[in-house]
């Protein structure tokens, strides 16, 4: 287990939280994401662009004028990445397994 198992796109808490929110819904509107994550428009746009470029989320614009809205949804790739990132974080929390005693090591321990 190493830090290399972590997804570099998800090590930023803002992106992790955004993808976590998206994983619990079919799709979420930009304003709702911004309010829930307590981010500014520009900050959220920046974080979502990274996720879009990685293929973790898709976006779709609907409506015109006042009813215009941007919707975001997690992709299958994004869901897999999130699950494996969460699994890697779990493994990091587990205490390291004690080293298995080698044959030479045990022999040395027994011989006075």
């Amino acid at each position: 287990m190493s830090l290399d198992d972590l997804d570099p796109n998800l090590t930023a808490p803002k992106r992790l939280a955004a993808l976590g929110l998206l994983s619990a819904a079919k799709k979420v509107e930009f304003g709702y994401l911004r309010d829930q994550l307590e981010l500014t428009d520009s900050d959220l746009s920046k974080q979502l662009k990274v996720l879009l470029d990685a293929g973790y989320v898709t976006s779709k614009r609907t409506g015109k004028g006042k009813t215009r809205a941007s919707w975001f949804a997690i992709t299958a790739v994004g869901r897999r990445a999130l699950n494996s990132h969460a699994a890697a974080l779990q493994r990091l929390l587990q205490p390291p397994a004690p080293p298995a005693p080698s044959e030479t090591g045990s022999a040395e321990a027994v011989v006075p």
């Binding site: 830090l3 808490p13 992790l16 976590g20 981010l39 999130l82 974080l89 929390l93």
Partner: protein, 152 residues
């Protein structure tokens, strides 16, 4: 990677992920919109028909149809399209059952003191009070969420 190692807190990251998921699901389960109020109204009428000798099942059917129509209309105004999951069911089902039982208890209480002839009115009052309780729960959940540190 060394820098990342210094800053990385797996426990905090996992807690953040869980918080993000739960916050959306809880928000959706307690969202005060027709999605939630309309079934409440249906439950109120259902409670009334359960505890009233003259309860009208026709009225219950009408309210339930109206609830479904309102819910369908509301679906297109909401900023989230919820994803049905076991986790969200574990939130919504107990809330709905609890509400129904609470409304039924209102009906029973009223029936016990002998006001059977005014069940719909009491059920409406029970509905208002139940909704107030739910709104209170939502306000507390919101306050708890706001007290948490913002995401860095």
């Amino acid at each position: 990677m060394e820098n990342q190692k210094d800053e990385l807190d797996p426990k905090a990251d996992l807690a953040l992920l869980e918080r993000a998921r739960w916050s959306l699901e809880l928000d959706q389960a307690l969202d005060p919109g027709p999605w939630w109020y309309a079934p409440l109204a249906a439950a109120a009428i259902a409670a009334a028909t359960l505890f009233s000798r003259n309860g009208s099942t026709g009225m219950l059917g009408l309210v339930m149809i109206a609830s479904l129509m309102l819910a369908a209309h509301d679906r297109y105004r909401r900023p989230v399209r919820p994803r049905p999951s076991m986790r969200s069911a574990t939130l919504v089902v107990p809330i709905a059952l609890g509400t129904f039982v609470l409304l039924g208890l209102w009906g029973t209480a009223v029936s016990t003191i002998g006001y059977d002839d005014f069940v719909p009115g009491w059920a409406l009052l029970g509905w208002v009070l139940t909704t107030a309780l739910l709104l209170g729960g939502r306000a507390i959940a919101g306050a708890v969420r706001d007290r948490r540190a913002p995401i860095q």
